[in-house]
């Protein structure tokens, strides 16, 4: 049976903006973000929590937004891919994904960027193995992960050692 009547009022902060909405009890967070708030950068690639296309950050933790109901997110602070270039400037990671050809169809990219962003907050200098472990919950069908790992690693060096050194290495 449908639960058309069952709904909840929720308040969340999404990408810095406070949002109040009445949501259906059964609505997934990912559908709330996409269909209600129009934040279609967060994608859906599976129905089992395996693919990571819907990855967002909730209260500082990495979350697959298809695995959380919207009412469960009440009171939380949510960051989606749309927050990464909030001031109009691409983040180091976004720029690195472009420069290293770390995306093809671009469907996994938002989730991948969120996982990578989270990784760099936890570990500013991850090894290639650290990177691979950190994105193991994000499936990419286009790139074989090769350039994604490269891009995340390069964003590390861009962020820590400075862009001048990285630029010099590129020139060489």
């Amino acid at each position: 049976m449908t639960e058309r009547g069952a709904s909840h009022a929720i308040t969340v902060i999404v990408n810095g903006e406070r949002v109040n909405r009445i949501v259906s009890a059964r609505q997934l967070l990912v559908h709330f973000l996409r269909d209600v708030l129009g934040l279609t950068g967060t994608h859906i690639g599976c129905d089992t929590g395996n693919c990571g296309a819907c990855t967002v950050v909730v209260d500082g933790k990495l979350v697959k937004s298809c695995m959380l109901l919207a009412p469960q997110a009440d009171g939380s602070t949510i960051e989606t891919v749309e927050s990464l270039a909030a001031d109009g400037q691409l983040s180091d990671l976004q720029r690195a994904f472009n420069e290293h050809h770390a995306l093809q169809c671009g469907y996994c990219t938002p989730g991948m960027l969120m996982s990578a962003t989270y990784l760099l907050r936890q570990n500013p200098d991850p090894s290639a193995d650290d990177v691979r472990r950190a994105i193991r919950g994000n499936v990419c069908r286009c790139t074989g992960y090769v350039n994604i790992v490269e891009a995340i690693r390069s964003a590390v060096s861009a962020g820590s050692a400075g862009r001048a050194a990285a630029g010099a290495a590129e020139e060489a």
Binding site: D47, C105, Y107
Partner: protein
């Protein structure tokens, strides 16, 4: 910078082609501003949900839609029988009888033929309501025996999927080139392999299928906003069925989240959604979910090779092959039986095999329909050839590198005519192999393998996969299946336009899914028009209203670099000619004096005489009074060009002809470690050398190599679609189907050779599919680890349990191979 002659121009200066410029597409995609099918919609739309069969094979006794229709928020339910009554004919069949008698309608009629077969479709005000309502469409089934074994399906005593056809065999043909009987009689050795099996899997694009279909009752136009990758094919297949002429379809695609051929398969859903929209009088939105995708969207072809006989000379020269092949099309013919001929683009693989006989049978079974899947049909055949090469080397105690080099088509042989008259355009396979072996440090690993010896519990294996990615196909090959088909050749259309303010815009008939068409099309356009790629806007995706399409438009079969860019280059050249003509008039100069650069047309040697693109556009679009009529008749700044590759119609009787224009080659070398106790395979090293002629954007090419390698490794070790005896899919979601992760796929070292194609406008070759080289390389490496006296690696999928079985097979059991030799007693291989 090199000066080359492009088609139709004397002085196209190549400054952007050949460079790894970052992609134009990325800016929106990294910000989450891509436009994928589920991101959009139409005012007043309902949400569709398909009612699908839990049975593999069953008669539909009754369907009760009333409980669903009673629910609040449900707009309509369309059943299979009701849909059929609105249709004029089943979907267009590629096959002649009996295959053409295996009729398919938008929804199942009378019976269901695989688990997930759609019997009805519900439309409701929300996704959730539609899903709930679909559970309240009550279908009574009478189960029938399921047919799941490919070879047994061809047996006349096996139950039928289609009573009207009287057989489960879709199509059968013998491809007979040279004289394989002579070769088998005269060879020094004949290697006989009992059975090889290429498994069923899918490239599983991360974005599932989807469409917003709006049947406009006022105009009769069916608007299809979808991620379908071959739009005009869909129109041709479903148009006659649902009674919609081509010019009343409006197919549109935007960003597509991967496709790999799989998104050629869902035309039936589009037809059903169109009828549902017509019935409900409102737009319908359908977003497939992953389990639905795995069950029904389409799988790659599964092929079984039996009774393989390989005549070999003592020096390792392989004369040919004789084999029976059985291909499993699943329950409906969703592009099949084209796979029955597509493989023959690469009859001898990378080798100079002269005598080949393939007795080919394609059947229907109670499984998900097969559809093109990256490496479509050639990969299966190439895998068999590569397995043969390694098994011959192993059985005759030859070095697999030597056997390959002995039998490869050599650099001086190009253009090389195969036994079935295909023409391999260019390449250097021996050098590709040398580079790959070096990149993978094969020699060091061979030494390490010897050091490791026995007793460590671990084994090292080194494997090679050398394949071809045949691209830009000649649709005339479909006549080998059915001589009455009105198809041949190929083509693609593009429009390059100078817009009102002098902007350069490109529309193409392709449906890119990550291949970077906006970038490479801008690169070649920029070169011809003397501007930077940033000044070129390439429209995203396909739009039928643009009129930039032909019958075969789309993105599939490794052809964009040739047919897509060929069209763009032709259109850009036409536009350039118009610019020159118009500027010559405006600047009172001879056409020969005009240069086009930096967004201006200039008189050479006189910097004061120049006109910007905006000035030229203004003359034509908004300020044309007084322009000579003759000039206006030739100059509209809106140049359409159709690139048509040079093809003849193949001969359906002899099954010969040039079936594809280009042959990119891939040589992969990998090193595996196999754990004897568990059978687990770990990739220690992976190298891929690709030769796809001139690369327009090497970075994008390398990305395609990485991607094809990743999916190939995934298929070889992790991804398989298996049905149980009752026809239930064992991997219906990403829980069971282990879509490979970053921990499964190793770093890939890439090398490249550029053997320019002599047949294409830019020397490039299509290369996106990649030939399935990792499947060959990984099987080859596992074979190497199993060892010379061990059994044959007979399956393309080798998860740990299968590898464990290979390592620990009872020594008295068959190894799956035998050798007979002409001189001396037959050498029946010992276990």
């Amino acid at each position: 910078m090199t000066i080359t002659k492009g088609p139709g121009t004397e002085q196209a200066i190549r400054t952007w082609s050949g460079r790894s410029i970052p992609r134009k597409e990325d800016a929106r995609l990294v910000k989450g501003q891509g436009s994928f099918v589920d991101d959009g919609g139409v005012q007043g739309q309902g949400f569709a949900w398909f009612v699908r069969s839990p049975h593999a094979h069953a008669r539909i006794v009754s369907i009760d839609c009333a409980p669903a229709l009673e629910m609040e928020g449900v707009y309509a339910v369309l059943t299979g029988e009701e849909a059929r009554q609105q249709c004029e004919t089943p979907f267009f069949a590629i096959a002649p009888p009996p295959g053409s008698l295996m009729a398919e309608w938008p929804l199942a009629v009378g019976k269901v033929r695989y688990q997930g077969d759609a019997v009805a479709v519900v439309l409701a005000e929300s996704r959730e309501t539609a899903r709930d309502a679909a559970e309240r469409v009550f279908v009574e089934y009478e189960p029938l025996p399921a047919v799941v074994d490919t070879v047994a399906a061809a047996d006349p005593t096996t139950p039928l999927l289609y009573d009207d056809a009287g057989t489960n065999v879709v199509w059968r043909g013998v491809f007979d080139y040279g004289d394989v009987d002579w070769a088998l009689e005269n060879a020094d050795h004949v290697v006989k392999i009992d059975r090889l099996h290429f498994h069923r899997f899918t490239s599983a694009p991360l974005e599932c299928n989807g469409a917003v279909v709006d049947y406009d009752l006022g105009t009769g136009v069916v608007n299809v906003m979808s991620n379908y990758q071959m739009p005009m094919f869909a129109s041709m297949v479903i148009g006659p069925t649902i009674g919609v002429p081509i010019n009343k379809f409006n197919f549109v695609t935007k960003d597509i989240g991967g496709a790999f051929g799989i998104k050629i398969g869902f035309f039936a859903q589009i037809a059903a959604l169109a009828l549902l929209s017509k019935k409900a009088g409102r737009a319908v939105k359908w977003t497939e979910y992953r389990t639905e995708h795995m069950l029904t969207a389409g799988h790659g072809n599964e092929r079984t090779f039996l009774d393989i006989e390989v005549p070999v000379m003592s020096d390792g020269t392989i004369l040919g092959v004789k084999v029976r092949a059985f291909d499993d099309a699943g329950a409906y013919l969703h592009y099949e039986p084209l796979g029955a001929v597509i493989w023959s683009q690469v009859v001898p693989g990378c080798y100079k095999l002269k005598h080949v006989r393939v007795d080919y049978t394609e059947v229907v079974t109670n499984k998900c329909p097969t559809v093109p899947n990256r490496g479509y049909s050639r990969m299966q055949h190439l895998w068999m050839i590569e397995r043969i090469i390694d098994i011959v080397a192993k059985e005759l105690r030859l070095d697999p590198v030597d056997v390959r080099k002995t039998n490869y088509v050599q650099p001086e042989d190009y253009p090389y005519r195969t036994p079935n008259d295909c023409v391999y355009d260019s390449g250097d396979l021996p050098r590709s192999l040398d580079i790959a072996l070096e990149l993978a440090h094969a020699e060091e690993w061979r030494a390490r393998q010897r050091e490791l010896g026995t007793g460590s519990g671990r084994r090292i294996g080194i494997g090679i996969g050398s394949t071809l990615d045949s691209g830009t196909n000649n649709f005339g090959q479909s006549r080998i299946i059915n001589p009455d088909l009105p198809f041949s050749g190929n083509g693609e259309a593009a429009i390059v336009k100078l817009d009102l303010f002098g902007e350069v815009n490109v529309n193409i008939g392709t449906t890119p899914q990550g291949q970077g068409h906006e970038t490479t099309a801008a690169q070649v356009t920029a070169d011809i028009l003397g501007i930077a790629p940033d000044m070129v806007t390439v429209s995203t995706g396909f739009n039928q209203a643009n009129n930039s399409y032909v019958g075969f438009s789309g993105t599939y079969a490794s052809q964009f670099a040739v047919s897509g860019l060929g069209a763009v280059m032709g259109a850009a050249e036409k536009l350039r000619h118009q610019i020159v003509k118009l500027a010559a008039y405006a600047l009172r100069a001879a056409e020969e004096e005009i240069d086009v650069s930096d967004g201006f047309a200039r008189v050479r040697g006189d910097e004061n005489r120049a006109i910007p693109f905006i000035g030229l556009a203004n003359m034509v679009y908004a300020n044309n009074a007084g322009l000579p009529a003759e000039l206006l008749s030739e100059v509209d700044l809106n140049a359409r060009y159709v690139y048509v590759p040079p093809f003849e119609v193949p001969d359906p009787v002899t099954k010969t002809g040039n079936l594809t224009l280009t042959y990119a080659s891939q040589v992969h070398v990998c090193v595996v470690e196999v754990d004897e106790e568990t059978g687990e395979v770990t990739l220690l090293e992976y190298a891929a050398v690709d030769d796809c002629g001139r690369r327009i954007n090497p970075m994008i090419v390398e990305g395609q190599v990485h991607g094809a390698t990743g999916l190939g490794i995934a298929a070889a070790l992790y991804e398989s679609l298996d049905y149980d005896a009752s026809g239930q899919l064992q991997q219906p979601s990403f829980y069971e189907y282990h879509a490979a992760t970053a921990l499964d796929i190793p770093h890939v070292d890439c090398g490249s050779i550029e053997s320019a194609s002599p047949f294409t406008p830019n020397g490039a070759k299509g290369m996106g599919e990649g030939g399935g080289a990792p499947l060959h390389a990984v099987c080859s490496a596992i074979q190497d680890a199993v060892g010379g006296d061990g059994p044959v690696v007979a399956d393309s999928h080798n998860h740990w349990a299968r590898v464990h079985e290979l390592l620990h097979r009872d020594p008295t059991a068959s190894r799956g191979v035998a050798v007979t030799s002409r001189e001396g007693p037959p050498r029946v291989a010992q276990s």
